[in-house]
């Protein structure tokens, strides 16, 4: 962790806030979504790990007492995301949001993005002390990572075969209402809106169906059945998409949000997990249905996926996607801008695998300048890391990133 002291940090923040900005953060984000030029490029992060939150605001508010059958209060100190792996309550959700809000304000970001899924009290069947199966048959485990932070890890799927799936279906597909997820989720978003809705863009982030399906079956089973038994995957994708669409619709109807985010990785550094022809045939139709159903409600749709998705980006655009995150440096953001700049708002790109971790603030500043030069002209660019502010990013680099955004990101951009 960085040697940056709290005192130095507060001074820096003070200096940062001196600028004369014409737009409210929310307006700035909206302009970017609509591919208009704001006063300056907005900034947002889709994920900020607990260790970083703590370094930025000094200490985190803890959940008091036991949270139902979880121990969020005990965990909070160590886990990167305190609400993973414990049964969540409305109270826990509020604490989580309050902490995040403080961090967002300190960093002077323009949006409050939070993973709604991590707030919802979904089903958890513990198979031993540290591992459980979730409502969509994926196995998760908690444990310390090498830096002493508690993490939650995906451990594999349980729907390996057709028989597994038949057995799983016997009780009917999971139902978000039955699971009691929607009530907590709507409560959390409304709380978020009361806290920051006037000033910040609130972006609830969920899933669209892809990752649930992939994780339920496990990578190998899912990807091999794209060739051998695609019908099985499709049946599952249809069910996971329906489930998430119901969640998303409930959010939109109850909370009147402007945008829904989604986090569903479909690529690694080299390219999509599967050949484009299989993506277009067996996966895209479900995503398209998801996006189109939401857009009918007049909102923006945002999607996060790791990796290089250039070979299938046409499909996302065809589906009607509005905002793409995080355009990892394995893709040239200039190329993405040139090809899709009139259709997609781009968010992210500052390298959190190398530069934010091992680089200097100067390296970060140079990278931000490059990203602005390539992606900001004409509007439609939101500054941020190439995935998340994870615990190994240096605090001084994080600060340098957002400072550079303000310094070099004012419109008109040459």
């Amino acid at each position: 962790m960085s040697s940056f002291t709290k005192k130095q940090f507060i001074v820096k923040i003070y200096i940062k806030r001196e600028g004369k900005d014409g737009m409210k953060p929310k307006e700035r984000m909206l302009a970017a979504f609509e591919l208009r030029e704001p006063d300056r490029i907005p900034a947002a992060e889709l994920g900020i790990e607990g260790a970083i939150e703590k370094a930025i605001i000094g200490s985190l508010e803890e959940v008091k007492g036991r949270v139902e059958d979880g121990e969020a209060g005990v965990w909070l100190d160590k886990i990167d995301n305190p609400f993973w792996g414990v049964k969540r309550s409305k109270q826990a959700a509020e604490v989580y949001i309050r902490n995040l809000y403080k961090v967002v304000k300190r960093l002077d970001l323009d949006a409050l993005v939070f993973s709604v899924h991590s707030l919802m009290p979904f089903k958890q069947i513990y198979i031993d002390e540290n591992n459980w199966i979730d409502e969509w048959a994926a196995i998760w485990g908690k444990g310390m990572d090498g830096t002493g932070n508690m993490r939650v890890w995906y451990r594999g799927g349980t729907l390996k075969t057709e028989e597994d799936m038949e057995r799983f279906k016997e009780d009917g597909w999971p139902d978000p209402y039955e699971l009691g997820a929607i009530d907590t989720m709507v409560h959390a978003i409304k709380y978020c809106q009361r806290l920051a809705g006037d000033e910040l863009m609130i972006i609830p982030s969920i899933h669209d169906g892809w990752e649930f399906a992939l994780m339920a079956r496990g990578f190998e089973s899912f990807l091999m059945d794209l060739y051998k038994n695609p019908r099985l995957n499709e049946e599952l994708l249809e069910a996971t998409t329906r489930f998430n669409l119901e969640l998303a619709k409930a959010i939109v109807d109850e909370c009147k949000v402007d945008v829904i985010g989604g986090s569903d990785d479909i690529a690694d550094a080299r390219g999509p997990y599967m050949p484009p022809r299989l993506f277009y045939k067996h996966i895209l139709p479900y995503y398209k249905n998801y996006v189109q159903s939401l857009k009918k409600k007049g909102i923006f749709v945002m999607r996060h996926t790791d990796g290089n998705i250039l070979p299938i980006l046409d499909g996302f655009v065809e589906a009607g996607l509005d905002i793409l995150h995080p355009i990892e440096p394995v893709m040239d953001i200039g190329v993405v801008k040139e090809k899709y700049g009139d259709k997609l708002c781009l968010c992210g790109h500052i390298d959190c695998v190398q530069t934010l971790v091992f680089g200097t603030p100067e390296d970060v500043t140079n990278e931000v300048k490059q990203a602005i030069k390539k992606a900001a002209p004409g509007g439609g660019y939101i500054l941020g890391s190439s995935n998340s502010l994870h615990s190994s990013c240096k605090i001084e680099n994080i600060l340098a990133m957002f400072e550079a955004g303000k310094k070099y990101g004012c419109y008109p951009i040459e």
Partner: protein
């Protein structure tokens, strides 16, 4: 069990095919169908070669290896994707499961040896590591997969225990690169560094980092397998 009539029909077809194609052509067909990821065809020609008692090593060297080379180059050029590579690995794994026992009973066969693989301590990510394992098996190695969250001491113990020819380590997290260094350092301290090839891979791993800690850099699973084979003198 297939009805007799159908079986007879298949046999007739097979006989005709065998007559029409000489062995070299069958090998070529196997190579091509593996390269094209046509599992059904590949299985058919593989079976034909087995029926004709073509030695396992010959099947590997003249059909399977060149077939995997086609897959590799198509992956390199971006024509193939991760799932294609996985599929190729699966087809190969199936073939090698049949050929390996035959090779072992044949004293003249090559001994590629055992590769120990695992994700470093504190990290649970395993897609890349699993693919590396599948491709290694496909290439004819024995693989001891220690799974995820593997401590340096465990890597060393297992390498000693199975007398491994290579050790492969993986991580997806920048924060956990130091565990690769810890492991390499442990091998150096224990005098085992020169006895085994150490290859590392994963998202945050760079060539410079690998050089710095004294390991070989595997850009991706496929390159990794090539490097291990080259290091052991099984490939140019």
């Amino acid at each position: 069990m297939l009805p007799y009539r159908i079986k007879a029909k298949y046999k007739k077809l097979r006989d005709r095919e065998k007559k029409e194609l000489n062995l070299d052509e069958i090998k070529k067909k196997l190579m091509e169908s593996l390269g094209d990821l046509n599992e059904e065809e590949a299985q058919k020609y593989f079976n034909l070669l087995l029926e004709e008692k073509v030695p396992p090593l010959e099947i590997i060297n003249t059909a399977l290896k060149p077939g995997m080379d086609i897959v590799g180059s198509r992956y390199e050029t971006g024509e193939y994707f991760l799932s294609d590579l996985m599929l190729a690995g699966h087809i190969m794994k199936g073939f090698m499961n049949i050929l390996t026992p035959m090779l072992k009973s044949d004293a003249s066969g090559p001994k590629l040896g055992t590769v120990v693989i695992g994700t470093v301590r504190g990290d649970m990510h395993d897609i890349g590591k699993n693919l590396f394992g599948t491709l290694l098996i496909g290439a004819g190695f024995d693989v001891l997969d220690l799974g995820t969250d593997v401590a340096p001491e465990k890597f060393l113990d297992k390498v000693k225990e199975v007398n491994a020819v290579a050790l492969g380590m993986s991580t997806l997290l920048s924060t956990h690169l130091f565990e690769m260094k810890n492991t390499v350092d442990l091998f150096k301290r224990e005098g085992y560094y020169d006895k085994v090839m150490i290859i590392i891979g994963g998202r945050p791993v760079t060539e410079e980092f690998a050089k710095e800690i004294g390991a070989t850099y595997g850009k991706d699973a496929l390159t990794g397998v090539k490097l291990v084979k080259r290091h052991l003198g099984f490939e140019e």
